[in-house]
Amino acid sequence: MKFTRRDTMAIGGAAALTTILPSLSSAAIPVNELIMGVTGGADAASTGISLTAPEIAENGNTVPISIDAPGAVAITVMAAGNPRPGVATFNFGAGSASQSATTRIRLAGTQDVVAVAEMADGSFATAHQTVKVTIGGCGG
């Protein structure tokens, strides 16, 4: 396919301005599908769980996240655009003082991070957030 000068300049100009890794949305698993995978098809409420993650990650290697779902038995965290979506499942025991945790995760690119909490009564709650992952600066 032949590119005209106009095409090349337009693409070049646009590409140069793109500093954020393009969303992995085409390769990502849809958020709803990930949620269903945990709930077994049951609905998940959108309240009752909070997910804290940076809007823009400094480095995809180490992205700090926190999850909190009072009354949860377990919280599953997934990354919709990673090569493999599973990140971690936190199971809370009788010794826990809150159903919350903080950790650091790897994100392969800009994508949705999804958290699903299973409550003591068998119901589910979910939250998700897009985290933008940037390309390093100098190529180093």
Binding site: A79, V87, A88, F90, G95, S96, A97, A101, T103, R104
Partner: protein, 109 residues
């Protein structure tokens, strides 16, 4: 035993009976994802810590199933209740079968 694995845990030395405390844990581990390739183009096999648990006097505080998406040098912070004096027991399970442990006692203030 993966080479050079070292754990650090932050646990208060004393607590009031029934108090909720924040625990922090960090362990040095590469968390080799299994997706990287070496210079010959061969995949480097996965080798991660796949589970972390914390218990107090035998009661589970938290039990985390971990995938390769947990960052190198896995870090967890979470809250635990200290009903009485006792010992926190932290365990990390490596893909290669090794188990790393740390124990920290807490006195009642």
């Amino acid at each position: 035993m993966a080479k050079g694995v070292k754990a650090r845990v932050k646990v208060p030395k004393t607590a009031a009976a029934g108090e909720s405390v924040t625990l922090k844990t960090l362990i040095s581990h590469k968390m080799e994802s299994g997706l990287r390739k070496d210079s010959d183009g061969n995949k480097i096999p996965q080798s991660i810590i796949n589970r972390f648990t914390c218990s107090f006097n035998g009661n589970t505080v938290i039990d985390v199933k971990m995938a390769a998406a947990i960052s190198t040098n896995p870090y967890f912070a979470f809250d635990a209740v200290v009903p009485e004096a006792g010992e926190f027991h932290f365990t990390w399970y490596d893909d290669d079968g090794s188990i790393y442990e740390e124990k920290k006692s807490v006195k009642i203030a």
